[in-house]
């Protein structure tokens, strides 16, 4: 099914929620308001015209000013991919979880929470998945501060961030 038809159907049903639509990209996407995201995804999954039964990917993004989420929903029977995005304000990065629609979203949303700091309301187990359980900070944000130590272990290679590496090892940085 053509993506412009999908977007037309979404526009027909959720007209007010669409923020941006881009059909000229290599991957056409539709950007919706975060409040209506869960309804849009449920519509994509359940509507018999689209039947997006496979959620390939949920990504958290840091655009510099705002955060965002990107969903790639595929249909294994009809063979199309629908990309849905949502922009979230950095101060309050919350969006409803889709793990009740697709179980695959469980771990993907945990990763987005761990690395970018987006909270998924209604998630059954929103804890860190890749970094240690008591890690501080969200590493893939643009303003992430590299840790200097973790439980007493020095985290960084001595002097690599403040430029004193050559003094520690006697070698030259290329």
């Amino acid at each position: 099914m053509d993506t412009s038809q999908v977007f037309a159907a979404i526009r027909e049903r959720f007209g007010g929620a669409i923020v941006e639509e881009n059909t000229t990209n290599r991957d056409p996407f539709v950007k919706v308001a975060p409040a209506s995201l869960h309804d849009v995804m449920a519509f994509l999954r359940d509507d018999p015209r689209f039947r997006c039964d496979l959620l390939s990917l949920v990504s958290g993004v840091d655009y510099g000013d705002d955060l965002g989420v990107v969903y790639h929903a595929e249909s294994t029977s009809l063979g199309h991919v629908v990309v849905v995005k949502a922009d979230l304000p950095r101060a309050k990065a919350e969006v409803a979880t889709v793990s009740d629609l697709w179980s695959a979203a469980n771990w993907h949303e945990r990763e987005a929470f761990d690395l970018v700091g987006i909270t998924f309301t209604g998630h059954p187990n929103l804890v860190r998945i890749l970094t240690a359980e008591d890690w501080v900070g969200h590493p893939l944000r643009k303003d992430y501060q590299f840790p200097t130590e973790y439980h007493g272990i020095v985290c960084e290679f001595e002097g690599i961030h403040d430029g004193t590496w050559a003094e520690h090892t006697g070698e030259q940085l290329g």
Partner: protein, 196 residues
């Protein structure tokens, strides 16, 4: 038959008989030779170096020729811990716990760039432990990304040379090996953090 044996013994030079049939050695050398020929490694691969470690165990580069071919899945039965692969800060307390569970005398071989000094993740790896010698004492370092199986075999040879140099009577030095490296104790989380 006894006559034939006696005739054989009478006709031979006693000196050459001794040379061919008697071995003189020290107890140190004998015991260490037996120990180095059966170094049982702990299967501990975290990342890509583990693939090269498996290739070294496999038939082409066969680590079993040197006695190190039965990797033990439990640290309680292992002599050598080949840390193969990147160690994260999430994994670090587990590595330390496994090292503590190994009985003495134990050796650690750090395989690959990541466990020597952080490897390719040295500059920007926020979650990578910059060298496993920050948490456990390492005996032999094998550089490479990943090291070739021949390099890992040489690393095993170095561990064997270390074993050959040990002396039975040198118990004070052996007893003084750090049992818990720098006394650092972690409490591992016992489950997911409680929901607020």
């Amino acid at each position: 038959m006894t006559q034939a044996i006696n005739q054989g013994l009478d006709n031979q030079n006693p000196d050459s008989l001794l040379k061919e049939n008697v071995i003189l050695t020290t107890l140190d050398a004998l015991v260490n030779w037996m120990r180095k020929g059966s170094v049982w490694p702990l299967t501990f691969g975290t990342a890509c170096c583990a693939i090269e470690m498996m290739a070294t165990y496999a038939s082409k580069y066969d680590l079993d020729r040197f006695g190190a071919g039965i990797p033990r899945a439990t640290p309680r039965q292992a002599d050598l811990m080949i840390v193969a692969g990147t160690v994260n800060h999430k994994m670090a307390p587990r590595v330390k716990r496994l090292y503590d569970q190994m009985p003495d005398p134990k050796f650690v071989l750090a395989m690959g760039g990541c466990v020597i000094k952080g490897g390719p993740y040295a500059k920007y790896g926020y979650h990578v432990l910059q060298g496993v010698d920050r948490i456990i004492p390492v005996d032999v370092y094998v550089p490479g990304c990943p090291p070739r199986p021949e390099a890992l075999i040489e690393g095993l040879f170095r561990v064997q040379q270390k074993i050959m140099r040990e002396k039975i009577l040198d118990r004070e030095r052996l007893a003084a090996r750090p049992k818990v490296f720098d006394g650092r104790e972690w409490t591992l989380p016992t489950g997911p953090p409680k929901k607020k």
